[in-house]
Amino acid sequence: MITEEKAKSLINTALQHGKRKKVDGIEAIVTASDVATSRFANNGMTQNQSPQRISISVRVQKGGKQARLTSDQISPAGIRMLVENAITAASFLEKDTDMLPMAKPEKRAIVRNVNRYDARTAKFTPEQRAAAISAMVKVAKERSLTSAGVFATGSSVEAIGNSEGLFRYHRETSAEVSITMLHVDAKTAIESTGWAKLHSPHVADIDAASLARRAADKAVASANPAEVPPGKYTVILEPPAVLDLLSYLWHDFTGTSHVDKLSAFLNKVGQKLVGDNVNVVDDPFHPMQAGAPFDGEGLQRQMMTLVDHGVIANLVYGRRSATKLGAAPTGHGMPEPSAEGEHPMNIVVAGGNTSLDEMIRSTERGVLLTRVWYVREVDPTTKIVTGMTRDGTFLIENGVITSGIRNFRFNQGLIDMLNNVVALGPPERTAGEEGIPAVIPAMKLNNFNFASVTRF
């Protein structure tokens, strides 16, 4: 993996060449990835990849214009050519009247790094991943199930420097395991599935066999799913389901979505729109968070309160949207230029003390969701999203799970949903398949709208 010294050397090659070419400003971003992924299905390994990549992206400013070029050519000659091509590209552009000069280095008191690197995770071998997958397959075979999933480990680097003297470097590791267990009922031949997933900077946090047992339990418990009619139900969402639904809300907290008049919170910042028990922060320093502590222009990510007891409290900004809206940048910008502008990357939804078991016990009739799938926005104003339940959907009657049920399609407004939260579980580091992993609690909600049912 690329060291801080090496990253700085690549960046300096670009900055020095830009200086020689008399640009007004230059920025270079180095990204590196060395994440290996072992995939399995039908109780055997199906794919095993070990890709590696280092890229450099250069942004130059000259005469009120700017251009960005990216390349995998990281030799000194390759970087110098990249800078020259960026200068040529910028010369063809119109002046960018909103363009800001490169960000200046921040004061030492503001700069804060985080340690999210684990040497064991970085060096995890194909044999170790295969052994962990063997353990998961063993769980499947012991219970006459079929397993499929992924075990990925590795490291990544982000580094940024510019002609104003700013330089930031961050390296981190990641381990991700997800598993689906397939159960086929011996008498009816009807299939049911269960799913579980973990994501952590530390591979030691992952007990593959335990995760496999969790998915297996769900697959078996949802055998021969019953069909219940669509309608409004009390639902209990496990954290991955909460994450993959609410991920469609976070961009509405960006300054750029307000400049573009697209946010659902347009002219509503400061208003109470959701329930008192909803509190959300974007916290890059949270111990269960991951990612670099600086943004796409190298600014320190700041902790921001987004929802305070139901009130839309703050937006997040990059430098460009902050300037347009008369706000201070919060360190959430994407690399410039960017249509998206910025994004909260370190969401923490405050939880409560209600365990999943307690939520189930207190439910007279409701539905427990393991995960949701193919969530898409239907209405940007009311934040209606559609999607499907998946891999462990259960009917709760009189405080106990009585059966697995066929999966539903939902059409649900997220703002309405957050006005119907009746219980929260303890927050945990959560990974789904739609949004960035975050710190999320389980939720119990009333009046969740299931629109139709599918055939399994």
Partner: protein
């Protein structure tokens, strides 16, 4: 390129691999975006690297490197073999590959004007002028535009003796008009959503789709949608224009016909398929006028190529013939699992940095005999015409789908009526396709490009094509997305 690739094969064989293939790829790209009168995206650059895939004791391994020295290639090949050895310790069954002749060939995608010879100023001028026209429409709140141009040179070699050079150019262009008021946000896109139209083509694509001629119309439609009546909740006749039908084909025919999904290999993320092998040649997937092909040979269509990423020549195969499910998208290892004597040639990788997986080529609905769109509307007493995708979702077995479109129009007594907003429709895949009773003719047929197909872990994004003419479906549930 050739020497590097051969070196990787030699190292792999020397380390005991029973099979190896190598892709050496050079890519040049331009992604341009505008928002009103500013450049919101300018992502230019290049990417070069080598992907090495090997079989050892029946297990797959893959590694990549961006360095093209012999030392780096040797190291990457060792990594590929090491991962394959690890795979071989946890096998359900050893991988076997369906036979395919060895090829020594070159292939170049068709284009009239190399887009990399057109300067950025000219390209951005089109988008900025479109934005000016859109924003001149009173009530619009934002105009966006995009273009992309990607040139890829790829060498594929394998230990079976195949040696293929391919060069392709992919281009795209599109514009969006947005309108926001206190209660609503609406948009219209042209020629389609997802960045407009995408094709294997050069700069001529931009002239062909004439963004400026449609900028004012989409601006006016976006504003009109703010006050348009909503799509009613009803069961009615539905006409889908071509680009929306293309996405319908993608989600409800393309994905479920992927053989890796049907065999459970993608069940953990992308999902499995209701089109299980026991339904092959027996399921009446659609009505008798429904004929769907996977055609990697369609000139200029986004999902075309000469050879796939495991050296199989591009083919045109039926997936559905006269309504009956009759074929899969397959690879060399999955084909032999269901007794096929040859891969369909659908293995593709997003870049040199990932291994290929089964992907759609151009999954297309053959034109029918219903004439033009106007003819079809004229033949419809009561219904809704829906156009341009806004939202799309389908379950992991590909039964239950729901789509929303940017715009819709009432059809009454054979005439297009009022503009409708918040249009949606949904159903169950085989029920829906069996309700298809009219398909417009070849004069309305367009190979629509879908550039953003996600699949695999880690997820890969693939470019696919979908030829379609506007078509009619009876007794479809509409207007459910905003209900409740």
């Amino acid at each position: 390129m050739q020497e590097i690739a051969q070196h990787a094969l030699d190292v792999a064989v020397g380390l005991g691999a029973s099979y190896a293939d190598v892709r050496v790829i050079e890519q040049e790209f331009q992604y341009l975006g505008t928002k009103n009168q500013t450049v919101s995206r300018l992502d230019l650059g290049s990417s070069e690297g080598v992907g090495i895939r090997v079989l050892f004791n029946g297990g797959w391994g893959f590694a990549s490197t961006q360095y093209t020295t012999k030392k780096a290639i040797t190291e990457a090949t060792r990594r590929a073999v090491a991962t394959a050895k690890a795979s071989a310790t946890v096998l359900a069954r050893p991988v076997q590959l369906a036979p395919e002749p060895a090829y020594n060939a070159q292939w170049v995608s068709p284009y009239a004007m190399d887009p990399f010879t057109i300067n950025l100023e000219t390209k951005l001028a089109v988008l900025l002028e479109a934005a000016r026209i859109i924003r001149a429409v009173k009530g619009t709140t934002m105009a966006q535009g995009s273009m992309s141009f990607i040139r890829e040179k790829k060498l594929f070699v394998s230990t079976f003796g195949t040696n293929v050079h391919q060069t392709s150019i992919r281009s795209s262009c599109g514009i969006e008009a947005h309108a926001t008021d206190a209660h609503d946000r609406q948009k219209r896109s042209y020629p389609s959503s997802f960045g407009g139209q995408h094709a294997l083509a050069g700069w001529e694509l931009v002239a062909q789709w004439d963004l400026l001629a449609h900028a004012q119309r989409i601006g006016e439609e976006a504003v009109a949608l703010l006050t348009a009546p909503p799509c009613p909740q009803a069961t009615t006749s539905l006409i889908l224009e071509g680009s929306q039908l293309g996405l319908q084909i993608h989600e409800s025919m393309g994905h479920p016909s992927e053989l890796d999904r049907a065999l459970g290999q993608e069940i953990n993320f992308a999902g499995a398929s209701f089109l299980t092998p026991d339904k092959l040649h027996s399921l009446q997937y659609g009505s008798s006028i429904v004929n769907l092909v996977a055609d990697a040979t369609a000139p200029g269509a986004l999902g075309s190529f000469g050879f796939d990423d495991e050296g199989v020549r591009a083919q045109r195969v039926f997936l559905v013939k006269d309504g009956k499910f009759c074929g899969y998208l397959s690879s060399r290892d999955t084909a032999q699992l269901i007794g096929l004597n040859r891969s369909g040639g659908m293995m593709r990788a997003e870049s040199w940095n990932v291994a290929p997986i089964i992907r759609m080529t151009n999954i297309s609905l053959m034109p029918g005999n219903a004439g033009s769109l106007d003819d079809l509307i004229g033949d419809t007493e009561d219904g809704i015409l829906m156009a341009t995708n806004k939202s799309w979702s389908i379950d992991q077995l590909r039964y239950n789908f729901q789509f929303s479109t940017e715009a819709g129009w009432e059809i009454k007594n054979g005439k297009r009526g009022r503009l409708l907003k918040n249009c949606s429709y949904g159903g169950i895949t085989p029920v829906f396709w069996n309700s298809c009773d009219a398909i417009c003719g070849p004069q309305q047929y367009v190979d629509w490009g879908v550039p953003n197909c996600g699949k695999g872990q880690p997820m890969q994004t693939m470019w696919t094509g979908h030829g379609a003419s506007p078509s009619r479906f009876r007794n479809v549930q509409v207007g459910m997305a905003h209900a409740g």
